[in-house]
Amino acid sequence: MVIGAGQAGLAMSHHLSGRGIDHVVLDRGEIANSWRTERWDSLRLLTPNWMTRLPGHRYDGSDPDGFMTKDETVSLLSSYGLSFGVPVHSHVTVEQVTAKSTGFDVVTNQGTWSCDAVVAATGASSEPRLPAVAADIPGRIDQLTALQYRNPDQLGKGDVLVVGASASGVQIADELQRSGRSVTVAVGEHIRLPRRYRNRDIHWWMNAIGQLDERYDEVDDLTRARRLPSLQLVGSPEHRTLGVGSLVDAGVETVGKLMRIAGPKAQFSGGLANLVANADLKQNRLLDRIDEHATEHGLDSDLPKPTRPEPTRLGGAPTELAMCRFDTIVWATGYRPSYSWLDRAAFDQRGRLIHDGGVCALPGLYLLGIPFLRRRKSSFIDGVGPDAAELVSHLHAFLDNRTRVISR
């Protein structure tokens, strides 16, 4: 039983079919439901078209360096599912998964299923991750999360505070500023990157130097690696770079991390300059690695000379702003998976799902499609296939072993 018919569920289904393992895929909506219902209108993939590789699928269109729109991504995943006849059951909402002595009961709004193994492929972005300070926002201010944001027409004409400056935050802040609103963005820890470097996409480089293939059992601090914010990128036809610096150039006001609401004022961290300097340093360290790779592989003669982006300029960083200025707050403070439907036996005392690279401590339960599950690219379309291939081997052995135990 695979739960979720997004990139992860489909990739897993493809591998299960390849091994002749009988299975179904359940989804609360249709294939690519999150892309259909929980993404803003202008969103494009952050990875270029050539990286939309899935098991048995390669991009063969005319624009390998382009970025798919939201609708094109829905089409990609739908036609991919059709291509191998994914056994999907649409509009089935899973309410409870319970482990039995052998196998699982899966309770849904369409009745209860029994199965030998469960793959939780419901995605990394099931719900918004909101900071505690969100509870203190005055009621007259409209609030929406990045999962609810669609386009600027949803908002009033007044000033907007966008909290968060990773991929979602910078894209939404940019779009709202272009719509004629006055936008302030609260910037916490972030990862700055140029969209293109030395005539290649940054993801081409990260793939080439092996960074995207770094494995979960090889990184120094896996907890930290899994918690890293998303890369500050946008997919656009112009291949433009979007970050704190470009927002400042566009007239967006920058402030530090939103710390608390004190009476009529919002208070922001005074540490923004250090976060920005740190992001610049880390970006340049990655570019150093890329340049070393280019030299080692004899690419320098075919490429423009190395350059370094300008250090980020801030347009001031006030630590207090009057809340009355803002009509709307957009929370782009991250997402998290939701496993509220999953048997509590799968979790530790602090409520964390216990697993080793997606192989859960609860036998027969697997996890797929979350950041750095087994490699740095685990949450990318391009990364879910290799993860699914490894997990399906484990799952296959588990099922074989179980059959022997039962038949004995």
């Binding site: 991390k257 710390m259 004190a262 961290s269 540490g271 250090n274 300097a277 740190n278 340093l281």
Partner: protein
């Protein structure tokens, strides 16, 4: 990280012990709860003396090797006797000390030998705030600027990264940069 991977540098920081503590406190979160304390006594005029001695952490009470005192006063241009640093200067000193300790720790962790580390720290303040002349002016600093001069076996970018990481892990940087709830009572 094992000791064999750490290059042989000696900045007088026991990084092994700190890494051990990090691992131990990850496994035992309650032991990471510390309480820092000071007592303060008015001497005369604007002169007061703070004393630090005990603190708690690792599930136990601890005392410093000896009690330490910090004298605070206002300068003669404020018609005071200038028996010590002003409290805002003590905050600047605390911030610089915290960051410098961080620089030494991070440098050692990254295998960078330090030869000298000096810092100057400036905090600008408009007295119209504390004197109640202009309610739009805050009491505290408008901004703080710290300038480090570091001589070490490392590139400028590596040194900048060490200073940046020190800010990221600094208690006083966070205390000064971010709001903290303060409760003052009279007993």
């Amino acid at each position: 990280m094992t000791s064999t991977e750490t290059p042989a540098v000696d900045n007088g920081v026991n990084v092994e012990a700190l890494l051990g503590a990090r691992a131990a406190l990850t496994d035992a979160p309650p032991a990471a709860q510390f309480q820092w304390r000071a007592s303060n006594e008015w001497v005369n005029g604007t002169h007061s003396r703070s004393t630090v001695s005990g603190f708690s952490g690792l599930g136990a009470e601890h005392t410093h090797r000896q009690p330490y005192t910090v004298e605070a006063d206002h300068p003669q241009v404020f018609a005071s006797e200038d028996n010590g640093a002003t409290p805002p200067e003590i905050v600047l000193a605390a911030l610089a000390s915290c960051l410098t300790a961080g620089v030494a720790t991070v440098a050692t962790h990254r295998g960078v030998q330090l030869r000298s580390v000096t810092a100057t720290i400036e905090g600008n303040m408009d007295l119209a705030g504390i004197l109640g002349i202009d309610s739009d002016v805050r009491n505290g600093f408008d901004g703080i600027k710290i300038s480090y001069t570091i001589d070490a076996d490392a590139s400028k970018a590596d040194i900048e990264a060490i200073v940046a990481q020190s800010q990221k892990r600094s208690a006083v940087f966070d205390i000064v940069a971010n709001p903290t709830t303060i409760q003052v009572e009279v007993v």
